[in-house]
Amino acid sequence: MMLLYKAWLESRARFLLGLLALAGLSAVFVLFNQDVRTVVTDHDMSYVEYIWRGIFKGQLRDIYVILTLLLGLGGLDRERSYGTAGHTLALPVSRWRLIAARGLTGIVETAVLAILPASLVPALSPFVHESYSWLLAFQFGALWTIGGTLIFAIGFLASVLVAGEYSAAVAALVFLFGYSITTDLPGMEHYLVDIHDVMNGSGPHDISTLAAISVTAAAMIWFGGLITSRKDY
């Protein structure tokens, strides 16, 4: 429990900033939908399409992706440069438990960030005399959670593989950009799942695809743990 608390203390500033931003922007998108519509698109569309374009596919999803990537950073390598890795490693727990606590905390934070817009959109819509299906919103929440977990795992693995605090973040961002471009190339849909399309519901989102994404994310976190367990701090 204390390890989870430690992981929470290390990531809470990033998480809370992200939470505030996503909550605020979700509210702005819904409550000021008439004004924001002109920013999202230049043609008429229904409220449901506007929410999809602005939140579940558009700007808010982009913010969520970057936030989850940055949530994955940190860990023992960062502590090594601070000179506190020794204190953490002296705790009577295995390195695997340290990794698991950080991974679990990050995944829970990722899920909370994903569920937030999915809860706020249907809850706030009646205030502007509109309605949005709770079921549909939570389906997007689930897709964001699974996609976000993979993106979190990319940040997590980068923080283990790349030395230097900000270098890991830069490497993770560059990898994500490279991946996003590669998945858009013709023919790549046979070999790579486009996580962005999965998250916005326009790509494949059957159970087997979602399971494959979850397994990939878990494997990346496990690989990060494996490297950490063998590293000399």
Partner: protein, 250 residues
Amino acid sequence: MWLKAWRESRMRFLATALSLSALCAVAVLSEPYIRQHQVPIALRLREGSYSEYIYNLIYSGMAKGLYALLVIFLGLGELQRERATRTAGFTLSLPVSRLRVVGTQVAVGTVELAALASVPAILIPALSAFLHRSYPLPIALHFSVLWFFGGMIIFAASFLLSVVTPGEYTAPVACYLALVLHTFVAAWHPLAGYRLNLMWVMGEFQTMRWNVAHTLLLPPPLSWLRMCVMACFALLLLSAAIRVTNKQDY
């Protein structure tokens, strides 16, 4: 001091320069392929001229986004990080003022920023020639100037936030959110006429026009007044950061 500032930021700088170079190279060299196939990132790029393709993919597209994102990491202040790694004492014991320590970091960052903003201007006209295409150097340089001044504001904001926020990843998150939120503020009706959206300014969004033959997208003349205002704003943010650094207890 210069060497120290360079060594501390070179990994981030080189990674950013390499990524931008790779993106520009891929965009130019795979242009026939991308335009022939139905590539989702470039659906709207299938029609239109080569200059429109370059503009939509580089100057108003992914490359601009990548540049803006990675500049955030270039701007993160070093003394704050050194405090966390407990090496700030060594740096501050050097026989130079804090102003010089921070000033050198800012100067090196500014030079790196100028180099990054020049990457597309060097690569795109040069690589276009390989495909028997041409992209005018003056237009490429026009965008380099915009990217440099726009990047300066992001760099300065990141530098200031890294001085005033705790934790090494809080500043980039805060800076990224500020970058996103300012676009919403800029779109607010009373402010919309002033074109305060930095990303719009860097990409000349909605201000590009066609030449007479409708073959080349041209930017409007560079507004040096706007560049001066942007530079002044960046300097204001940097001054605030230096002021806070001078008063901080390391």
